[in-house]
Amino acid sequence: MWRYLVPLAIFLVIGGFFFAGLDRNPNYVPSPLVGKPAPVFSLPSVTDPDSVVSSETLRGRVSLVNVWGTWCVECRHEHGFLVELARAGMPIYGLNVKDDRAAAIEWLATLGNPYASSGFDPEGKAAIDWGVTGAPETFLIGSDGTILHKHISPLTPRVWERDFLPLLRENCGPTDCPFLAAVGGP
């Protein structure tokens, strides 16, 4: 009797661990920045080197900060959805990392520009302050400048509905997000 039960019990325990591990993402590292004020930064704009994109630019309204670069294949993948969100009125700021300015301008000209403005960070200095591990990454910033959420990997409609919309509904004051109805629709 025990000859059969002991291996079975061991199998069930190990199987239980494997089963629980199936849905867990080993690459998930929660950002310590969530719930804290967005890092202070000040960068020249990609399209207009004379204008500045900074922490001040983000203040006063709910917005997205999207990390991108023309070297980033997955950024191309999410770009269409960003353009769609921007068209619906969602303010999106870009953080262009380790890129070539001419290539970045070319990218925005061909694929469309969803960004209110994009900071140009060729050495990835500001990216380190934002705890950026790669691209694409997208931050949701509250109107007081607090980071509400960080998403690593392309932003898709599914992720938007699951992670971003509930936070938007929770954090938008009555006048903060005039775009909410438009971006919340299917």
């Binding site: 590292v29 950002s31 310590p32 380190i128 705890g131």
Partner: protein
């Protein structure tokens, strides 16, 4: 048998040298270089969690090595470097 052991030793030696991405000396001062070496061996790469930033060739690991080098160069302590990175990357 003896040949086999030699072969294994050679292979391990090659494998170990292959792990070192960052082979250039960062500092002329051996004390600083040793602190740098042990910090980058201790800090995990945020993109590839089973590697340290010394072993990883992910772009973010190179950036973080550069930051560690900069902070040590500015005279920051090991704990300052750790808390700088922990505040950003957890």
């Amino acid at each position: 048998m003896k040949q086999l052991i030699w072969l294994l030793a050679l292979w391990l030696g090659l494998a170990a040298s292959a792990f070192a991405i960052d082979t250039e000396l960062a500092f002329d001062d051996p004390v600083l270089q040793e602190r740098y070496r042990s910090l980058i061996a201790e800090i995990r790469c945020p993109k590839c969690l089973n590697e340290s930033i010394a072993e990883s060739d992910a772009p973010v690991a190179a950036d973080l090595r550069r930051e560690v080098r900069r902070l040590i160069g500015e005279g920051k302590s090991d704990d300052d470097v750790r808390s700088f990175l922990a505040a950003r990357y957890g």
